[in-house]
Amino acid sequence: MLKISPDELKLVAQYIHDISGIYLDQSKSYLFETRLGAIATEHGCSSYKELYQKARSEASKIIERKIIDAISTNETLFFRDKAPFELLQHKLLPELIDARTPNSPALKTNLKIWSAASSTGQELYSIAIIIKEMLPDMSKYAIKLLGTDISDGAVAQASRGKYNKFEMERGLPGDKLQRYFTMFGDSWTIKDDIRAMVQFRKLNLMLPFGGLGKFDIIFCRNVAIYFTLPDRQKLFNKIADSLADDGYLIIGSTESLTGICPRFIPKRHLRSIFYQKK
């Protein structure tokens, strides 16, 4: 494995922060080596400095994309941590549907939900499955489910909706597996009716959100933990701007907004916490 020097560590860490907002601890040089070593070798670079220079000067941004794919953590599961999905099903969705249902039966109920760091899509598909089970007659609703992630590789896999058995291992009850997936060899593919409900696209949370509009529910779980404090403050401030006044924000179960965004107040429901704007 290609070794990284202290100078290169500084350079590469700064570069990764610039392109992704992800802050990597420079004391963990192995992390840089295990994740970037193969990319350096593949592109014929004999040092990380060379890789850095190549990545920066390359107009096609192929190396930059590979670095982001390698650096971003894509560990997600279907129904990861049951609590937020129970919260969604038993409190947030029923309340929002009540609030959003128009007086005229001719009009549809509009709902917009955003999975802000959708990784390989499991979170958003889990949300789609819950909605499908809750609302048998979807014709009365116009529900937009958007998933965004910084990694092209993750967005592509999410859009395919195809998972190997390691990615399926936990979280998904057997009946849901049978009902919503088709098995082929050792992999499972989400069925078309669920896939048609969702949309994935690339987005760097550090950049302006540009034209996404306002959402009724935003999931932003376990991504801000990779950012510095000032970057977290900026992120949640932008998220507050993108959330409807009576909308809901859900963050990771071990995350906190104390000292990060005073515009949100935490509220408790059973075993979970959600946030609303003041």
Binding site: D81, E169, S253, P266, I273
Partner: protein, 194 residues
Amino acid sequence: MRNMTILVVDDDPVIRRMLEKRLEKEGYEVLLAEDGYQARKILPQQHIDVVLTDLMMPGSIGGIEVLDIAKKISHDIEVILITAHSSVDTAVEAMKKGAADYLEKPINFDELFLRLEKIANVQSIMRNAQDLSQAMDTTESAAAVTIQNLEIRSAELQERMDSIEAILRDDLITPYDRIDKVFDLLAARDNLIT
């Protein structure tokens, strides 16, 4: 002991016995089925890690059907098919249905043992990963309870600070009354939800 149970399914008694002997010598626990029907009976009753089945067997339960039955019981059961050279295409089809591998007749035992070792390695990595993720879940949910309590508590304290500030700035009441009110608020602190 290798800690792995293998179900051998073959209608040929000579092959059955040979596989049993060689596999037991390697330290595997071996169960035998004379055909697909017997395999169907054994599979739900025993914990089986690997099924080693002939592709072509008399009756309507052949190797492919055994594969289907095993996978329906648990996706963790790995199935290796034993095929004649002429039926390699069928074996490839079986891989698409979730078979781990296939072996051509006559069985090369070194090859078989290598495949089994590979399966054992993957299974132990999977178990390890499951243990780790369970440990992570436990840590995470314990941390979540602590963090959520702190989150709510700090929000309540912030709210109280805001109320105190509002009282202290209230020009409509006398300074003494303001202090009284502030003390009232502070006295209520024991009622904070923890």
